[in-house]
Symmetry: C2
Subunit: 127 residues, 2 copies
């Protein structure tokens, strides 16, 4: 078993060059503070993305790879949806070996859009 080193959270640290062997482009992230309200709402207006967010909220951080979600779309579309979620400041991604693991940016997103995530996550009778 190999662990991901990469110290800890580098929120204020520029990602720069990872000390990993390969040269795989690190995913580009957008902080929730830089996300317009409309973009956040648009990102959460898609059933597939909401399913991803909900499933992600129910798992420990950095434990779910992109392919491990139960959504009825191919992997191309899936990749696209994760890009949208990243751009909306909803998820953070990190490369772990061949797979890309995810984390829901609960605190940061909540600070920027209070209550919005709770709204989407609360199990409702009406979807």
């Amino acid at each position: 078993m190999i662990f991901i080193e990469h110290s800890a959270t580098r929120d204020e640290k520029e990602p720069g060059v990872t000390e990993r062997t390969g040269h795989r482009a690190a995913p580009e992230h957008t902080h929730p503070d830089d996300v317009p309200v409309l973009a956040a709402l648009a990102a959460l207006s898609d059933p597939v993305r909401v399913a991803l967010v909900r499933e992600l909220a129910g798992s420990p951080e950095w434990t779910r790879s992109c392919g491990s979600f139960d959504v009825p779309v191919g992997k191309a579309a899936l990749s696209h949806h994760f890009a949208v979620l990243r751009g909306a400041g909803l998820v953070e991604q990190r490369d772990n070996g061949p797979r890309r693991v995810n984390r829901l940016r609960r605190e940061e997103f909540d600070a920027r859009f209070p209550g919005l995530l709770d709204l989407v996550l609360r199990a409702d009778a009406l979807g």
Copy 2:
């Protein structure tokens, strides 16, 4: 005072049959409690509709007719947007003479989706 009586809904009437004696069809409303989260978010994901909601929030109830809003779309599109807002439980409409006046369903919508309206209404630097 005479109110719109509208004896019974005649949704399944054959086209062309207008046996009403000159009353306009009352707008069909959806209570926020019957609105899925996704529909609410989708309704608020459009810049024109957000502009309508914001402008409406800044005016007393039942004072704004549909045509009185400053949005860069024709009246056909405008009518469509109001229908969406109605369907999302965001606005209530009432016929007043030749015009249709509006009201933002603040309390009801807030009870169903706490914080969502505040999020959209708060004047943000980032739209």
